[in-house]
């Protein structure tokens, strides 16, 4: 009993997400050149940086939409996308990989809602077909999630009839319905008209307040400074600096960070 207790406390203190020496190349081009990150349970991490700095690729590696060239990722102590057989790391098969991805919610820049399904069906399809939850239960839960993102009145609409901001909120509800341990946001507001950005950020703020673990790639400096516990600035596939938002966003040590921030805020 005693030892069990120790283990569980240990896993609570252990980071939810750890990334070790992650490299990713597309052909000749190295997009990630050795990234190490640890994210604690309940932590809100924002990643900023110029386009082409590798932040999106990093996020896509975390749920193995991109296969890292080398390096390893753990979520809650579980190796992601591979397993250790003896001394070697072996890639997981489709089924094993799908199981791991259930725990990792991903919100895409372009929403990627399923156009042939209603808002509610978008939210319930994975709980039903992946987790095997009964239709009635999945629907009740799905409606609850749509309510939560302020779209309780749009359950039967198809994505094409929704604004960009509404589509992105459905996409967030779709992720929430899977009750992931970790939520990844890939520039979730970049594809939106300016007047629709606020409604999505509001939802993300609420999620942050609920104590969810979030890794957010964003250009919304205001959001990063208010919501995140820590900010990472990336450039050319590397972490240039990291720290609490106050330190990075207003008082960056590196010239590159300052240059990037001044460009972004001068818009």
């Amino acid at each position: 009993m005693q030892s069990d207790k120790t283990t569980s406390t240990d896993s609570k203190d252990a980071p939810l997400l750890s990334i070790r020496d992650l490299h990713k190349s597309f052909g000749e081009l190295e997009v990630l050149s050795g990234v190490d990150i640890e994210v604690a349970r309940g932590e809100k991490l924002c990643i900023i940086g110029p386009s082409g700095s590798g932040k999106t690729t990093l996020l896509r590696c975390i749920n193995y939409l991109e296969k890292p060239t080398s390096g390893h990722i753990w979520i809650d102590g579980t190796l992601i996308g591979e397993k250790k057989v003896g001394d070697r790391y072996v890639h997981l098969n489709d089924y094993e990989l799908a199981r791991e991805r259930r725990e990792i919610g991903f919100v895409f820049q372009r929403f990627n809602l399923f156009p042939h399904l209603t808002a509610l069906q978008n939210v319930t399809i994975a709980p039903r077909k992946v987790l095997g939850i009964a239709p009635a239960e999945a629907e009740a839960k799905g409606k609850e999630m749509l309510d939560k993102v302020g779209l309780g009145h749009k359950v039967n609409e198809y994505p094409e009839r929704l604004s960009g901001g509404q589509q992105q909120r459905v996409a967030i509800a779709r992720v929430l319905a899977m009750q992931p341990k970790l939520m990844l946001f890939d520039e979730a507001t970049s594809a939106l008209d300016p007047e629709l950005v606020g409604e999505v950020l509001r939802v993300m703020r609420e999620l942050a307040q609920e104590g969810r673990t979030m890794v957010v790639v964003t250009h919304e400096i205001q959001f990063a400074s208010e919501v995140s516990d820590r900010v990472i600035f990336m450039d050319q596939g590397k972490i240039v600096e990291e720290g609490p938002p106050s330190a990075i966003l207003t008082n960056a040590r590196h010239e590159r960070t300052r240059a990037f921030l001044s460009q972004i805020t001068d818009r």
Binding site: N63, L65, D94, Y95, A98, R99, R101, R102, I104, G105, F106, F108, R110, N112, L113, F114, P115, H116, I125, A126, K129, V130, L131, Y158, E160, A171, R174, V175, M178
Partner: protein, 221 residues
């Protein structure tokens, strides 16, 4: 006797014989379509396989069937197979022959339809924990069907007309009976025009039904 006098006099007889053939025509067309739809999907999925050998064999299958006449394929099945000890009944030979021929065509239709779906759709499905097979089943194919429907309709109509080919392997369909009637009465124009009208009376409603289906499917867009 003139054209119309003969036509009116023989019309009931011609129709009863030709409609008898139409039953076989429909049987062959429906059978071959079902065969082509199922085998075509398997071929299309195999052609997207991660294994090079599988892709190569599948491409060879498609090329072979698309690069040779359907008539030659029918002869191989009906006249060739008995030489190696496999006897095939005319209607079976017709269904299998037109079916495998169609499967090569439909495989390309399926593939084009599947590839027309944006990559983000698969990624969203995978990120929610679906396996690639589940993503195909619940997300990709239902959307791709909309893209595939027009060429599949077209194919069905062409297939229905192509069943005329199978008279050469003695499958008793419309053209088979039409030729018999001409031998019997020498009224070529009347018999073949009636046969053509019977085909037309089947293809026009088909085009209509599918146009309707397409409108219905557009609901989400």
């Amino acid at each position: 006797m003139g054209f119309w006098a003969n036509m009116i006099k023989e019309f009931p007889y011609f129709m009863s014989v030709l409609l008898h053939g139409a039953v076989t025509t429909i049987t062959v067309a429906v059978g071959a379509l079902a065969f082509a739809l199922v085998v075509g999907l398997v071929v299309a999925l195999l052609k997207m396989s991660p294994f090079r050998v599988v892709r190569f064999v599948t491409s060879a299958y498609i090329e072979l069937l698309r690069g040779t006449p359907a008539l030659a394929q029918l002869f191989v099945i009906y006249f060739g197979l008995p030489d190696v000890g496999i006897d095939v009944a005319p209607v079976t030979a017709a269904i299998v022959g037109l079916g495998i021929n169609g499967s090569a065509y439909l495989a390309e239709v399926y593939r084009a339809g599947i590839e027309s779906i944006h990559k983000g759709q698969v990624e969203a499905a995978l990120s929610l924990g679906m396996t690639p097979a589940r993503a195909m089943q619940y997300i990709i194919l239902p959307q791709a069907v909309r893209v595939m429907l027009p060429p599949i309709t077209n194919f069905s109509i062409v297939l229905l007309k192509d069943t005329a080919l199978v008279s050469v392997v003695a499958a008793p369909e419309i053209m088979f009976y039409a030729r018999n009637l001409v031998t019997e009465t020498f009224l070529s124009m009347q018999v073949y025009l009636l046969a053509a009208l019977i085909y037309l009376s089947m293809t026009i409603p088909m085009a209509r039904v599918v146009a309707m289906l397409e409108r219905k499917r557009k609901a989400w867009r």
